[in-house]
Amino acid sequence: MDEVLHIGDLAKAFGATQALKNISFDIARGEARALLGENGAGKSTCVKILNGLVRPDSGTIRLSGREYRPSGLSDAQKAGVSTAFQELSLLPDLSVAINLAMPDLPTNDFNIVRFEEVRRRATATLAGYHIFDIDPASLISSLTLSDKQRLEIIRALSRNPTLLILDEPTAALTDVGWLYERIRALKAEGRAILFITHRLREARDLCESATVLRNGEVAGTVNLADTSDNELFRLMIGRSMGTAFAERPDKTGPAVKDEKEKIVLSVDGLRSGAFGPATFSIRRGEVVGVAALEGQGQRVLFNALAGIARITAGEVRINGKSVKLGSPAVAKKHGISFVPEERKEEGLFFGLLTRANVSISNIGRVSRFGLIGRKVEIDGISPVSEAVDLPSRYHDLPVDALSGGNQQKALIARVLFAGAKCLLMFDPTRGVDVGTKQAIYSVIREAASEGKSILLYSTELRELTALCDRCVVIYDNRIVGECPAESLKEEELLETMHDAHAGGAREELRGGREQRVKSL
């Protein structure tokens, strides 16, 4: 019996969306397996199932040869599966020591918690993992993100799991070497590790093999030593190879032909959070694509331009005039509208009717004397509904009754209704059906031909090459390249990403060595 974890034919659907299907893979004793895939590929559903937070619809899981069906997190922990979560699971206003000892705090005969024992154990645990710079008495909320992440990992390790799941543990970690040592020690003890990451280099450093998920299915399980980065990228990206693109009527759009055409949005040295500096511009009627692997900072760029994330440096000009994008309302006033990636959390108002969801961006247009009339509203939104191919019978339904695809159409209709001249579209075709995709493509083309400027991010490179006039490539919070229309091909984009990745790896290696020297 050499496998610690066996997953066979796992499937899970949320409503109409098939989140996982036919998922099968095994992890052996002492093996570290990377789980790779773009956002929405099904990695987090897998993690949730293994932790008992989500029940699979079908399929089998065996842990050390035994049937494994956890009913919840503590059940999973008792069975020997322990997870360091990406959204940390530490309690902010309790001390480090209590967090490490939870939930079975040592007590005396009167059920009173023995705090000195809690503290002693915490000190011993931290020392056991070579951590001497965190005071067990300090509150979690007073720690840096990197220290919180270390503690999250330590807590998972200290439960002595047979299967350790690390959910993007390095996102905030400053000293990755420390984690590497811990993982090597675990492997030597014969434990199994499932390592979820977006960084291929880390996957290569830590893991022998990788399972790549795409669109809820296993795109392949590969031996990392025999697989090039390009092959891995290819397995990860391109979730709908079957989607057909109608060829654009004019490959080089009007905006590109006339270089003097007016620049609508220009960004100069923009910084926000870890992102930047970035400099680029979008002309009138131009679609500029953003190509990036998951988590390279593209989200921050979109949030900054939408007025959600604070811009810390640099300048944004609209029609040549410098503007301060302090809030989404200000961004909207300047004609920038944002189609966010999370329809449910950031976009739609569930519980309101579809027509109200569409008209809310420009509610003054559908009200008379301060009151909203149904007829005025429906007449007002009909043109945009038609433009996005949203059937009018949905207008009077609550928006949560619509399918994901129609919800996305409603969201885009709202942005069009706002009369924006610059659209920021963050992965607009994520999780929607083929028909809706086609509708969204034609909306993007029409909007561009009407003179709107569009910044489009998609996880699907084929969408970018088919829809955009040119593309910028983002890697590690920076723009690392630009593909003009003439050379806008998937291979070209992959190449740029790969070069940036290779260059970045060398740089990081140098940085890592310096850090090690410093810590000596």
Binding site: G72, L73, S74, Q77, T83, F85, E87, L88, S89, L90, L91, P92, D93, L94, I98, N99, M102, P103, D104, L105, T107, N111, I112, V113, F115, S142, R155
Partner: protein
């Protein structure tokens, strides 16, 4: 500098705002009232009027720390007060029997609240509003108008002096200590803070979220019964109607004491002192000759001030940690 370090103290220890204010206000009151205030009898009068509110605020604290609300306090107080005034308990033995009865009544209300909120995931405000109305309905059924008499052993026994010491202190100090130990020094209490801070993280840390939340409502119910017992001792008579102003003042006491209505942060001592402060303000204003019509304005302003000082402190702490 002084201001900022004072504010950071207030953010670290949320009850210190109310304790500081209490001391200041007590000095003002003592100066206005003369030395009577500091005699055992004077203290006893001051405490007798605030002890029921202090215990009521403690009851709320257990639930507020989980991030919930418990309105049923007012109903439990009305029901237990009514039972005490009509049941005809006699003597010291009767007072003890009555104590068991009010705890049982509170436990029943707390069990219903806890089951519905923790296990059936109903909204705490809706559930406890329902049990509040229901319990005061039962009280009205037992006693259809204010009246009845609370046994002397309770009415006099709990409000007087035991030697030179007010009985109220003999009750309040161990009560506050016990509630503090329960919240800060047991697995259950730390679980209460945990689920109030971050429910998902508490679950991931292995806390049995439902069981902990259930016990918080159960404890709150029992303590609410005790509060009804003390209300009865103070008024000496029965009133089946729930007292909305008592409920709101109890919430005010919790807020003044530095317990966050978002859950996860707060102390019992803060709520107890907060309750005392509300009573002290009334008395001080009366003593310095301000019309009692102004009491509400002062109490409201004080509550906002206490919440403001607490949040200013944590805002500055956040800015400091962002800067460093």
């Amino acid at each position: 500098m002084v201001v900022s370090s004072a504010l950071s103290l207030y953010s670290r220890s949320p009850s210190s705002v109310s304790i500081t204010l209490y001391i200041v206000m007590f000095v003002v009151y003592a100066l206005a009232q003369g030395h009577f205030v500091t005699t055992p009898y004077g203290l006893s009068v001051l405490l007798n009027n605030s002890i029921a509110l202090a215990v009521g605020a403690t009851s709320l604290t257990f639930v507020v720390l989980t991030g919930g609300f418990d309105l049923s306090l007012a109903g439990t107080v009305a029901l237990t007060n009514t039972i005490l005034s009509v049941a005809g308990f006699k003597g010291v033995g009767g007072a003890l029997e009555a104590l068991v009865v009010v705890c049982l009544v509170g436990a029943i209300v707390g069990t219903v609240n806890g089951l519905l909120v923790a296990y059936y995931k109903l909204q705490s405000i809706a559930v406890t509003l329902g049990t509040m109305i229901m319990t005061s309905g039962i009280a009205l059924f037992m006693l259809n108008a204010p009246g009845g008499t609370v046994p002397d052993s309770i009415a006099y026994g709990l409000t007087g002096l035991l030697g030179p010491v007010p009985v109220a202190i003999i009750i309040l100090v161990p009560f506050t200590a016990a509630a503090t130990v329960l919240l800060n020094y047991t697995r259950f209490g730390i679980g209460v803070f945990a689920i109030g801070q971050d429910r998902a993280a508490a679950r991931a840390s292995g806390v049995n979220v439902e069981w902990t939340e259930f016990r918080a409502y159960l404890t709150a119910g029992i303590v609410a019964g005790l509060s009804g017992y003390l209300v009865s001792a103070e008024t000496g008579t029965g009133d089946p109607r729930f007292d909305a102003s008592f409920l709101l003042l109890a919430f005010a006491a919790v807020a003044i004491g530095g317990t966050s209505f978002r859950g996860g942060r707060g102390t019992v001592i803060g709520s107890v002192v907060g309750a005392g402060l509300l009573e002290l303000i009334q008395k001080t204003l009366f003593a310095v000759g301000v019309s009692s019509f102004f009491t509400g304005m002062f109490e409201g302003a004080l509550m906002i001030l206490a919440v403001l000082v607490g949040s200013l402190g944590s805002m500055m702490a956040a800015r400091r940690s962002a800067a460093s």
